[in-house]
Amino acid sequence: MVRFIALRLAALIASLVLASAVIFYVLRKLPGESAGATLGVGTTVDQLDLLRAELGTDLPVWQQYTSWIASLFDGSTTSFISREPVSELITSKLPITLPLSIAAFVVAVLISIPLGVIAGVYRESVVGVVVSALSQLGLAIPVFWVGLLLVWWFALRERWLPSGGFPRTGWEDPGAAITSLVLPVVTIAIAMSSVMVRYIRSATIDVVQSDYIRTARSLGYSMWGALARHGLRNGAVPVVAILGIELATSLLGAVVVENVFALPGLGTLLLTAVTGRDFPVVQNLVLLLTVVVLVMNFLVELLQRAIDPRLQATSAAGASA
């Protein structure tokens, strides 16, 4: 187990180094340049050179890269535009993005587990077909379009909820903060649960058709009794994998949805930083998302090993070989 964790940590660090290099390189290859984007039209070459020297973008790329990496360790990365520390920019946006994506994930799980199981168990009857069709529909519709539809109905037509924005005072008025997050949460949850229902449905079908469920039924268990006894754990292995990926995806979904609902969260921060060529902000944000995805994958693997002892047996055999 110790060996497994050590190996995974090494792989995690290697992935991060690689990811940081790719992120950095790709951003430098973007058309447009930080100094130019900041100063706008009508600036002189001298002014541009001055700003470049100040930002350090006149240095060779590898030097820029190493100083960025160094700034990651002491938290001294600063925005090109606002000159604020990026860590502060990010933490100031977390109170919006974190509740948004976690709530969306929880809602999506609560919707998709029962729906997916029902769609799997009753796959040949009307209920199962209707649930499958709905999840296909949810997959086919773009997230921002779902958001716009919800705004049109619940904000513009019925006037139950705000169409966007977030209270200036933040969470000081929890009621206002929560109402402004309802539609964004539902929007992300619809998109996520459409994906999750499909995976949970197929995991359920695998379990329902498995021989051990037939054995349990031949011993006197009801279908639901057999599913509870044997299905939950067996079905959990593939489902945990998709839940982990989706939790990480919910952060990415927030990028799009925050824009639709004008929420000043991480997604909005990322978009403004990209348009302003504010490289340090973009780099740190994308790296943060990468860390989240990699850590989620690691946690998923640990969880799967806890559920299925066969995975431990195979990796132990592999390690000793």
């Binding site: 498995s210 021989d211 054995t215 006197g220 006894r229 299925d308």
Partner: protein, 264 residues
Amino acid sequence: MTLDVHNLTITTSTGLTLLNDVSWSVTSGGRLGIIGESGSGKSLTAAAIMGLLPTGMRATGRITLDGRELTTLPERELRKVRGARIAMVFQEPLTALDPLMTVGKQIAGPLKLHRKLTGQAARTRILELLQLVALPDIERIADSYPWQLSGGQRQRVALAMALACEPDVLIADEPTTALDVTVQAEILALLDDLINRTGTTLVFVSHDLPVVTRVTNDIIVMRDGHVTEHTTAQRLVNGPREPYTQQLFDAATRITALPRKAQP
């Protein structure tokens, strides 16, 4: 105890007849073999008795256990029959057992369901059952997962699970087909011995003629959902036979010399 199958017909929702007018009966201590090639309806007969036909299939006719009609029995009542009065062993012991549950816990299932046995009493019975199926090192095996055991050991576990609540009838559906030939012989000898000792009635379903004649007395030959011959193991070995049975017999003897049956 009498298990009576009378005019059993199974049709699909599209109107296809898979099993046509099958009748047989077996009484206490009887050993019935059902033989036929794949698609002959032999496994379907077994599933119909358990009330576990795939969705969309409909059974008509009668299946009675001691005069009690099973085909019209409500699911709740049928569950009290399954595992308690009629139990089943399947072809592939690896997939028939839950890979993520220890063998002991799996055997505990029917004990809790039908006998209300839990805790130490259940544990004692589980070890007793593992002993009954002649497994070594029973304490360790009870705490093992199926994938930690050999194919033969798994099938012994499946037998222990089926016999946990001392059913009147044991239906064995190709129980040795997935096993190595040497292990096959061991499991057949064990089954033979268990049936003798417990007095359980055996319904043995297989495509393998030498295997069926080794453990059963009465034999039903099936083809395309019909019973083509009702004979005994003795007569089947000594002939004469119906044309289709002769074909099966020839196919079997071509592969291997027919072993002698243990009991008359």
